[in-house]
């Protein structure tokens, strides 16, 4: 599998480490309540199809990247800098 780092270009997936759903970008407010926090920390979708997830270019530039990937075809549809998505 290959991921196109927006900074470094197309690289083998071995250079990256995986974190999980890009939901991690949407941190609730401290007072958002138990349900919101439980969802944020523990609940994840498991879609057959497109999924947005966070990868860290650990063996490269150190960028966190939001990768849109299809879990059925393994196609990597897009890779964006998380810092820009989060803004």
């Amino acid at each position: 599998m290959r991921i196109t780092c927006p900074i470094c270009g197309a690289r083998d997936s071995r250079e990256f480490s995986y974190r999980g759903a890009a939901l991690a970008l949407q941190r609730p407010a401290p007072d958002a309540g138990d349900d919101a926090w439980a969802d944020y920390v523990h609940l994840r979708e498991n879609p057959a199809g497109d999924t947005r997830e966070l990868w860290y270019h650990e063996g490269g530039c150190g960028a966190w990247i939001v990768v849109t990937r299809n879990t059925v075809t393994h196609e990597v549809r897009s890779a964006e800098l998380a810092a820009e998505v989060a803004r």
Binding site: R2, D12, S13, Y40, V41, G62, A82
Partner: protein
């Protein structure tokens, strides 16, 4: 038998080799298979299960029978296909799976026991009694059924792994692949052309067709000459593309050293390539399938295309009186080429009625129904118009048609499509993103069609990559139609073989259907059809046809089994090349590594780092003696320890303080410049992630210290928090772990030591506990931190890494002059346990700030990562297992990490569990065993007694629960 005037071998270069100890001659360009056939060796192996005599069946990597072991001792390579192994001077090959010899194989009694060893015999016969399986059945079966044996010695050969990148990967260098590579290369694409054969050209080397008015191999030579001259082309012969993966990545195995003697150059045996390409064209050709009839596995029965290949490419006639049997026009070529070369063809048996041919006897509408001859074919029996006739022959060339090599197109879950006109499967379009298919593997069997499809696929690739390419004038080549009628097996008595390598017969497949293993995947596992090292390349389609027939379905409805990489066996040595021994993981060494090893310090691994365990002194015989001495040294004088492995993250910017407040439970924005603070970091789920000290070097400049183990994790975490959660904050950070050499100077004489070394002396007023700042040693600028992990008056001094070795030696010399010296990880651990300081033995991922007694460090004035979740009621429950100290109170003084705790009087069973021990040591300072543990309501139970029970090691110790700070609980020494 060699045929004069035929073949592409170099007759001026004879080569001697041995097979089962007998010397034979071959020529440069021969494979072991062609050279053995040239020497009239027919019997080359024994079958897997029944030990039936077997000969060469094919001329390619799909060979199921002719498996040999090449070389001896540690260099032995079992299960080498004789059809792929090139001969070279001195090559030693031996046959496999026979005892005591190939000619007399006593294990052939299995063949007589065949009625009991049919499909499913494992499941039926050996189920019961259970103990018999392990002790009797399995060892016996394993000895009797098998392939080549491993040497049992460590592999002394070298293997490699490598990456390659290109615009276009062309897989296979037959007419389609050569044409594709040529067109693409002329258009300027960066091309890799990979072919598993030693010599490129594919079937053009095995046929007599003319291409562009020249012999096929002549046209091949011209194309290769042009490709070789182009800088944008890389030719990779002896390279089998083994798998297609995501993102245009392909696996490939290059046989670098197998075709020549081992020499001093230490050339690798194999190289496992990962090829990343923008486009690929599969030109893998096709594999001919046998016809199943009684005893069709006799040595001398071969595929028709293989017989032609041995004749035309290697100048070998595999028999003196050859018969041909087939259901398609292509088989006739074998007869024609043999006759043209002067080899006698006794008969051509065509299953289709109404076939007439000139030049030899043709028996149309007939079938071969038996083959005879013990270790070599002597005759065949044909059935024609209800009568049987025996024909003497020593070689039968059979063809059940050709199967396109669709394998790679199915590696990403694609399924091939049934093509009724060629009675086989063809690739489904778009099965692998970026891969095109051309030529025989696409069901286009004529040379002209291969050339055309290759060129067209290259044009599509060029266009997709934005290059202009022109359709060349295609060379003139044969364009014969391929006509075929169904013929999968010839009915009759006896065993008709489908999978030669796993000894699966037509009857086995029918039996599977009878027992309701009707799904092709079930049939495969029940019969082991296609599960051998050849993965059923010759036999799967015919087996499917038999299953379809037995279950009353069509072949497309029956479907195929799943094709998985690798296409051919890949040695683990190649896939794991370079990863054994020190190559298994990177090794990180501190700047003091050399000095420490000079002193004989045994190293222990801490993540990727190597750290000294202890420093043995003369007269010491155990690690404990060294450890006790080192601890006493720190407590009474001064010790030196390299702490450079701790993670150091330099954080700068206007929002640096804000980030630290957000990732630590406590506050760092209020930390004064020139001061250090201990910090605790949580995961977002509220559990402790890491701890360490952070120093404020300037208004906008901090240096964070992490534990050695969590350095990478914390760096990643900080980058996550910054980039993903607070992207607007203005700061940047970088790991400086390797930029600084940092040494702990610990003990009551630490300041005295430093003052003899630093350019400017320090005192308690300017350098109080938890202060930090710049210093200089002999003019070299460094940093000094007054921090302590040992509980003593201590410092950590840091200099740029290039001065590490020299500063270390200076520090050690001075310490030793003051009654101190070096201490290692063992002493470091004792010192910190004596002080109740935690490590990742305590913050192991399931403990909270509350559990380790640091609940109050979670600031109530601000938000931080993990704060909300750490306040869940379950995580603040006083009943939780919380950090305590333990000391033995009974006769047994041993406390063991990992042991569990129970109340006195309770049975030591799970439901009564009160907690567990995390760290333990013998304290020379206090003269007793100490331990850190987690105990339910721990801090409320000081003075109580608990039982430590180690079920695994059978130790029980009565302990007293105490404050985890065993030594100097007031902390007076650290302020010194």
């Amino acid at each position: 038998m060699r045929v004069n005037g035929k073949g592409l071998i170099d007759r001026s270069a004879p080569v001697g080799f041995t097979f089962d100890g007998v010397r034979y001659d071959g020529f440069e360009g021969d494979t072991v298979a062609s050279a053995l056939l040239a020497n009239d060796i027919r019997l080359v192996g024994r079958s897997f299960k029944y030990h039936r005599p077997r000969g060469v069946l094919t001329a390619g990597s799909e060979e199921p029978n002719a498996l040999i072991t090449v070389g001896r001792g540690a260099e032995a390579e079992p299960n080498t296909r004789a059809t792929v192994q090139e001969v070279f001077e001195g090559l030693e090959a031996v046959s496999q799976n026979r005892w005591p010899s190939l000619g007399l194989d006593l294990m052939a009694v299995n063949d007589l026991a065949a009625p009991f060893l049919g499909a499913g015999f494992y499941y039926k016969t050996f189920m019961w009694p259970r103990a018999f399986w392990e002790k009797l059945y399995e060892p016996v079966i394993r000895r009797a059924a098998g392939l080549g044996a491993l040497s049992g010695l460590p592999n002394t050969d070298r293997y490699e792994r490598a990456w390659a990148h290109c615009d276009l990967l062309v897989i296979g260098a037959g007419p389609a692949g050569l044409m594709a590579a040529l067109v693409a290369a002329r258009a300027g694409l960066d091309v890799i052309l990979a072919d598993e054969d030693a010599r490129m050209g594919g079937r053009l080397l095995a046929e007599t067709h003319a291409v562009a008015g020249k012999p096929g191999h002549g046209w091949v030579a011209e194309v290769l000459a042009e490709l070789s001259s182009m800088e944008n082309v890389r030719l990779m012969p002896r390279t089998t593309v083994t798998g297609a993966y995501d993102g245009g990545t392909y696996g490939a195995l290059e046989r670098v050293g197998h075709h020549r003697p081992r020499d001093d150059a230490r050339r690798p045996r194999e190289c496992f390539w990962r090829i990343v390409t923008r486009r690929a064209i599969l030109c893998a050709g096709a594999i001919e399938r046998p016809v199943a009839f009684r005893n069709n596995d006799r040595p001398g029965v071969m595929t028709a295309g293989a017989v032609r290949a041995y004749l035309n490419r290697w100048g070998v006639a595999p028999g003196r009186t050859v018969t041909v049997f087939g259901n398609n026009d292509d088989a006739h070529r074998t007869a024609r080429d043999l006759v043209a070369a002067g080899v006698h063809v006794a008969a051509v048996i065509d299953s289709r009625p109404g076939v007439t041919l000139e030049g030899f006897r043709v028996i149309s509408g007939a079938e071969v129904c038996n083959a005879s001859g013990a270790k070599a074919l002597e005759s065949i029996t044909i059935r024609h118009q209800g009568r049987e006739e025996k024909i003497a022959t020593d070689c039968l060339a059979m063809s059940g048609g050709w199967n396109p090599s669709v394998h790679l197109t199915c590696h990403m879950n694609g399924r091939p499509t049934w093509a009724g006109d060629i009675l086989s499967f063809v690739p489904s379009p778009g099965a692998i993103p970026g891969m095109d298919v051309a030529g025989a593997c696409n069901g286009a069997f004529s040379t002209a069609a291969c050339l055309r499809e290759g060129a067209e696929a290259a044009l599509r690739a060029a266009e997709a990559l934005g290059k202009r390419a022109a359709m060349p004038d295609l060379p003139l080549a044969e364009d014969d139609p391929y006509r075929i009628a169904p013929l999968w097996h010839v009915p009759g008595k006896g065993r008709a073989w489908l999978d030669f390598q796993n000894d699966v017969t037509v009857k086995d497949v029918k039996q599977a259907a009878v027992e309701n293993f009707r799904s092709v995947e079930h049939m495969k596992r029940y019969t082991t059809q296609g599960m051998a090292t050849d993965q059923g390349k010759n036999s799967n389609v015919a087996a499917l046809a038999v299953l379809a027939d037995a279950t009353g379905r069509g072949i497309p409805e029956t479907g195929t089994t799943t094709f998985r990489p690798p296409y051919v066996p890949v040695s683990i040595a190649a896939m794991g090349a370079g990863a054994e021994g020190p190559g298994f993981a990177p090794q990180r060494f501190t700047t003091s590594h050399k000095a420490a090893t000079e002193r004989g310090a045994p190293m222990i691994e801490a993540g990727l780092w190597y750290r000294p365990s202890y420093f043995p002194a003369p007269g010491e015989t155990t690690w404990r003696q060294a450890c006790d001495r080192e601890v006493a040294m720190v407590r009474n004088a001064v010790g030196i320890c390299d702490v450079s492995t701790l993670g150091k993250i330099d954080i700068q910017g206007p929002d640096a303080a804000q980030l630290l407040d957000f990732v630590y439970t406590n506050t760092f924005s209020t930390l004064a410049q020139g001061r250090v603070r201990y910090g605790l970091m949580l995961r977002e789920d509220g559990f402790v992630m890491d701890d360490g000290t952070t120093a404020r070097l300037g208004e906008q400049h901090y240096v964070m210290t992490t534990t050695t183990a969590a350095a990478g994790l914390v760096m990643k975490h900080l980058e996550f928090v910054h980039q993903c959660l607070r992207p607007d904050w203005d700061l940047s950070m970088i790991s400086v772990t390797e930029a600084w050499a940092q040494f702990a100077v610990a003990g009551p004489k630490s300041r005295e030591l430093l003052n003899g070394l630093l350019d400017q002396p320090i005192d308690d007023a300017t350098w109080p506990f938890m202060s930090c700042g710049k210093i200089a040693v002999q003019g070299i600028e460094g940093r000094l931190f007054r921090i302590s992990f040992s509980g003593e008056h201590a410092y950590e001094i840091a200099v740029p890494a290039r001065y590490g070795d020299s500063l270390f030696r200076l520090l050690v010399a001075r310490a030793e002059g003051m009654g101190g010296g070096l201490y290692g990880m063992e002493a470091l651990n004792v010192l910190r346990i004596e002080k109740g300081h935690i490590t990742h033995a305590e913050i192991h991922g399931r403990t909270t700030a509350f559990d380790i007694g640091m609940g109050r460090m979670v600031s109530q004035k601000k938000d931080c990562i993990g704060k909300t979740m750490s306040e869940r009621p379950g995580l603040m429950d006083p009943e939780r297992e919380r950090l305590v100290g333990l000391r033995p109170v009974g006769a047994v003084r041993q406390i063991l990490a990992g042991a569990h705790l129970f109340n006195e009087g309770d049975a030591a069973v799970r439901v009564n569990d009160q907690g567990y021990v995390t760290s333990t040591c013998f304290s020379p300072t206090l003269g007793d065993t100490l331990a850190l543990a987690f105990l339910k309501r721990g801090p409320e139970r000081y003075g109580e007694k608990v039982r430590m029970v180690d079920h695994a090691r059978g130790v029980e110790t009565l302990c007293e629960v105490v404050n985890p700070v065993f030594f100097d609980p007031e902390g007076g020494r650290v302020r010194g």
